[in-house]
Symmetry: C2
Subunit: 91 residues, 2 copies
């Protein structure tokens, strides 16, 4: 029971962790310090975690990663909306 | 077996997902578009995931979140090293 609460707390914190980043990017309309590699790598990983959660029949893992994936997709959309900075080297 | 591989892949991708962000921040010495709220919220969540993994005796969850926590700590250090941008409103 206590571990379920810990799991729900962990899931809530991590799955909404990119919401402040979304609001910051929306406000500043600047994403040049954000690494696109991090965004794509994390999205791929989160997608696999979701599949892993399905295999383990762990609803918390499935749901948490689904929400994270949605917020990361919004962030990737914003990354391209606010444009690739001039002279970027990637990373 | 296939799920263990999926889990290891998921863990590898997510636990090292902030490494590109670390290198980008080191190169540009600028972190003003990175949300500190996201960094702290994610670190707290990842810490709780680690505790959850210990409760579920899931070594992949424990190890993946431990590595993520280390990389996030480096990023938080860099965030403060490269200074809080002037006139920041938080978020």
């Amino acid at each position: 029971m206590i571990w379920t609460i810990i799991g729900i707390l962990a899931a809530t914190l991590t799955m909404f962790s990119f919401v402040p980043q979304i609001f910051r990017s929306l406000r500043t309309k600047s994403v040049k310090d954000v690494s696109p590699v991090t965004l794509f790598q994390l999205s791929s990983g989160v997608m696999l975690w979701m599949i892993y959660g399905i295999a383990r029949s762990d609803l918390i893992i499935i749901f948490a990663n689904l929400v994270t994936l949605v917020t990361l997709s919004i962030l990737i959309f914003l990354y391209f909306k606010y444009g690739l900075p001039a002279g970027r080297e990637g990373g």
